[in-house]
């Protein structure tokens, strides 16, 4: 069993590494696929494992996008110089400059996103249920508006990210491997974290927060850590996403609530919220079907996607993986209960009349 699992992981890794060489024409789509996986996985920390429906996680993504773009712009060019050439043309960087700016921007973006998550969380994470959902929804929209009105970061006309230096090879392949590594890291970190006491604490908060408090759990601290963890991966994805797209628009690229912000939730719910593989599977199915739909059925794509989502929520409310797990768990439990009921203590383990 263990060997089979290890072999599975190796095969997946080989497939992931080989994909851009085998299918070079789909390289950028595959890169986006990894972005979707990171989005879904990081949403599921708070939305699935902890049961807090956040519609505002896109905020941390946007912070990553903007921080990286601004650091890249200001590290080697002054604002005036950038404005003078109207972005782009003259912003040619040497490979090391480019990589240095990107790395610094990503790190700084992640740090800022964590600070934002901690500060926002201190207030917002006290809310529960629908109140939390509505508040985070407002947060995402507000950040888009603020970014669209701030001249320093380009306001409504956005920011152009520096050109990718040709010496570094193929641009899309570079970002494919960045997003792939990020998705693998995110998955690995979450797999490890969910196995710890922390994972149990998040599930306890999801199942009954009042009980968790009554048992003395430091719920506020755990909730904040979970949101910060989510923010790190979103900012790391966002920073490179801005460069990958090449242009930072406040509401289409950075604080893209109606698209990326909603998709990350749909993907996690489709695949199975609160499971490790659910968001990964959900992201794959969602992204692939979305691409096919708008390629071949343009105009109908959103409608069909919406219908698919509705069908999954109605018929598989636990998501694809949740449904599979429920089926196997039900069978296992039925098998386990049968032999044990005859040996159980008569007075205490029998159920109610």
């Amino acid at each position: 069993m263990k060997a089979a699992r290890a072999a599975g992981y190796v095969a997946l890794t080989v497939a992931a590494v080989a994909a851009p060489f085998v299918l070079p024409q789909y390289q950028s789509q595959l890169a986006l696929l990894w972005v979707m996986v990171v989005l879904a996985l990081s949403w599921d920390i708070v939305g699935g494992q902890m049961g807090y429906n956040s519609f505002g996680n896109i905020v941390f993504f946007g912070i990553g996008v903007y921080t990286t773009a601004v650091v890249q712009r200001d590290l080697f060019f002054g604002v005036e110089e950038y404005a003078h050439v109207a972005g782009g043309v003259a912003s040619q960087l040497a490979p090391l400059q480019y990589l240095g700016g990107l790395a610094l921007g990503l790190v700084l973006g992640a740090v800022l996103a964590v600070i934002a998550a901690a500060v926002l969380g201190a207030g917002i994470l006290r809310l529960r249920g629908h109140y939390f959902a509505i508040c985070t929804l407002g947060l995402g929209i507000a950040m888009g508006e603020i970014a669209g009105g701030t001249d320093y970061i380009g306001a409504g006309s956005g920011l152009v990210t520096p050109l990718f230096p040709e010496l570094l090879g193929e641009r899309n392949r570079f970002f494919y491997f960045y997003f792939m590594l990020l998705a693998f890291t995110c998955f690995g970190v979450l797999a490890a974290v969910y196995r710890c006491r922390f994972g149990l604490a998040l599930n306890a908060i999801r199942d009954n927060e009042d009980k968790a408090e009554a048992m003395g759990l430091r719920t506020t601290r755990y909730k904040t850590i979970a949101w910060c963890l989510s923010a790190v991966f979103l900012a790391l994805a966002g920073g490179a996403y801005g460069n990958f797209i090449g242009f930072v628009d406040p509401v289409d690229t950075a604080f893209a609530g109606p698209t990326l912000g909603v998709w990350m939730i749909l993907m996690a719910i489709m695949g199975g919220r609160g499971t490790l593989w659910g968001p990964v599977i959900g992201a794959m199915i969602f992204h692939v079907s979305r691409e096919f739909l708008w390629t071949y059925l343009l105009g109908w794509d959103r409608m069909i996607l919406g219908l698919l989502t509705v069908l999954i929520v109605i018929f598989l409310p636990l998501g694809i993986l949740g449904w599979l797990r429920e089926r196997t768990a039900g069978r296992a439990a039925a098998a386990a209960v049968k032999p044990s009921s005859s040996t159980s203590q008569p007075s205490l383990s029998k159920s109610q009349p």
Partner: protein
């Protein structure tokens, strides 16, 4: 013996309704005390005031020599004063062992955050399983808590409380909605938890047979005030208690 929990003149009102009026009671370390009274007499409100769920209007609550009326629910729980709920509260989608593991105490010298990102130690799991054995749920340990019957959930909740190694446990109707056979089992385990683990108990109970056999000292509330206090014998024979329950003649 010194008092582990000392409640003095606690008052709590919700708008115009006074739920607790200058209530005082004390529970000695190692004792079992009972709290009875007709429906709506303020028993659960008093529990909520003690554990920090409701801020009290006036009075003081001293636990193990510390004033706790301004502390929050989790802080008080970490001091070793736990409560269980009248309607069971368990982590429904987690299995019984996981319910127990997360209930392990976070007290002690080690930094809680260090343990947060480490797997649950084997000793904790062993203790969880032995406590599940103690309440008779070992066979069900891999079932989800939400799939257990109401009575089994009460037992699980009790086991989770024991897992937390509290100094004192406030139990809100531990035998309500439980069949008579199981009630004897619960009583037996409450007495054993008190005798073997040294946990002080304060129990709200409507079942007179249970509370009279369990508690050494009983407080009776009516309309938010303390009506009578004493040994089970004294309280049972008090005419005011009888009239509060059955109506005055």
């Amino acid at each position: 013996m010194s008092a582990l929990l000392q409640v003095s003149k606690v008052s709590k009102s919700f708008g115009g309704v006074t739920a607790n009026r200058a209530l005082s009671l004390s529970v000695d370390a190692g004792a079992i005390a009972g709290l009875i009274g007709p429906n709506g007499s303020g028993k659960t409100t008093l529990f909520n005031c003690i554990v920090g769920h409701h801020p009290v209007d006036s009075g003081s609550v001293v636990f193990a020599g510390r004033e706790i009326k301004h502390r929050t629910v989790p802080q008080i729980a970490r001091l070793g004063l736990l409560r269980t709920f009248q309607q069971t509260r368990v982590y429904g989608a987690m299995d019984c062992v996981q319910n127990m593991q997360i209930s392990a105490p976070q007290r002690g010298p080690e930094n809680a955050r260090q343990k947060l990102f480490r797997k649950v130690p084997a000793v904790v799991t062993e203790k969880a399983e032995s406590l599940l054995e103690f309440v008779g749920l070992f066979e069900k340990r891999r079932l989800r808590a939400g799939e257990l019957s109401f009575g089994q959930q009460k037992l699980l909740e009790f086991a989770m409380a024991l897992m937390n190694e509290p100094k004192m446990l406030l139990l809100d109707e531990p035998t309500a909605g439980i069949n008579p056979t199981l009630i004897n089992g619960i009583m037996d385990r409450l007495l054993r938890a008190n005798a073997e683990l040294g946990i002080t108990l304060l129990v709200i109970e409507h079942n007179m047979r249970v509370i009279m056999n369990l508690a050494q000292h009983i407080y009776c509330l009516a309309h938010g005030s303390l009506l009578a206090a004493g040994t089970p014998q004294e309280v049972q024979e008090d005419p005011r208690v009888l009239s509060a329950y059955l109506g005055a003649q």
